[in-house]
């Protein structure tokens, strides 16, 4: 049985005195863009919502930080960091970033020939933003421009 997060989170925060959060429920079918190339020729982009930043970059803040970070895909594991409103989910990632930010493993899959290439810059955001308006008007357009600048054929989005 999978966890019913929406129900559990709503009930938990109601007990703590918060008004119930209105989750995003899509009222239209998903858009669809077919792949233009086979998987083994794709130039892939990456987004993590885990609040990943690289050493030398500014960390995220916890109050609906809608900004993004552009991280060199050659960044070493040891130079990857995280800051996120739900830090409790990041204990393992701070030891092994690949369980949530699979940079090293995507390079491995390029070497294996499963995908064609990984973009030079990969992206992160701090997904714990309560304002859906901010995600729609700030984060999503910034990421679209960033992915376009990397000329990706497709994007892998890893949720935390």
């Amino acid at each position: 049985m999978t966890v019913n997060y929406m129900q559990a989170i709503a009930a938990r925060y109601l007990r703590l005195g918060y008004t119930p959060y209105r989750w995003f429920v899509a009222d239209s079918p998903p858009p669809w863009e077919p792949l233009v190339k086979p998987l083994n020729q794709l130039r892939l982009g990456l987004l993590s919502t885990a609040g990943t930043y690289a050493l030398g970059q500014v960390a995220y803040h916890y109050k609906d930080d809608a900004s993004i970070r552009q991280i060199d895909s050659t960044t070493a594991n040891a130079d990857l960091r995280f800051s996120h409103i739900t830090e409790n989910y990041l204990v393992a990632a701070k030891r092994d970033p690949n369980c949530i930010f699979p940079l090293r493993n995507l390079h491995q899959l390029v070497r294996e020939g499963l995908i064609g290439a990984l973009a030079e810059k990969v992206f992160s955001c701090m997904g714990g933003v309560y304002s859906q308006r901010k995600v729609r008007t700030e984060t999503a357009p910034a990421l679209l421009a960033a992915f376009r600048a990397q000329a990706v054929d497709a994007a892998l989005l890893v949720a935390m």
């Binding site: 999978t2 997060y5 129900q7 559990a8 938990r12 925060y13 007990r15 995003f24 899509a26 079918p29 998903p30 858009p31 669809w32 863009e33 077919p34 792949l35 982009g45 919502t49 885990a50 050493l55 970059q57 500014v58 960390a59 803040h61 916890y62 609906d64 960091r81 800051s83 996120h84 739900t86 989910y89 990632a93 092994d96 690949n98 369980c99 949530i100 699979p102 493993n105 491995q108 899959l109 499963l114 997904g127 933003v129 309560y130 859906q132 995600v135 984060t139 999503a140 357009p141 990421l143 992915f147 376009r148 054929d153 497709a154 994007a155 892998l156 989005l157 890893v158 949720a159 935390m160």
Partner: protein, 127 residues
């Protein structure tokens, strides 16, 4: 919340010409958000791309996820992976409707993982 953000971003990218695949671990939030393509791995949050220090598990999840780009051919398609986390007590904790607020205080200053990260950001003139 991250899963909601991922759904919103995926729909925006896809509507503007970039095919997306969401790798996820919160099934109900993804079913509500309806991203174009999703892979679901039933792990405790924070380990969507595999178990820590288990490269075999991580690579297996990533390979299956990326193959979904070719295998999923309908909008809203989802691939559920058979991977099992193992120890299952996280499930009861995540489903609990009681307990403390585990979120960090919501202030607007950068929250560096290590104090030295702040100095590194200053040195790079990022701050």
């Amino acid at each position: 919340m991250c899963h909601q953000t991922v759904s919103l971003v995926a729909r925006h990218l896809e509507a503007n010409g970039i095919p997306t695949m969401c790798l996820t671990s919160a099934l109900d939030i993804i079913e509500a958000g309806r991203p174009p393509r999703a892979t679901f791995v039933d792990y405790t949050l924070g380990h969507t791309a595999g178990k820590p220090s288990d490269e075999l598990d991580q690579l297996g999840i990533l390979r299956a996820t990326l193959r979904g780009f070719e295998a999923l051919t309908e909008p809203g398609g989802m691939h559920r992976l058979p991977n099992v986390w193992g120890e299952e007590s996280w499930r009861a904790a995540a489903s609990s409707t009681v307990g403390e607020d585990t979120r960090q205080p919501r202030d607007e200053t950068p929250q560096f993982q290590f104090p030295a990260d702040r100095l590194a950001a200053l040195a790079c003139a990022a701050l």
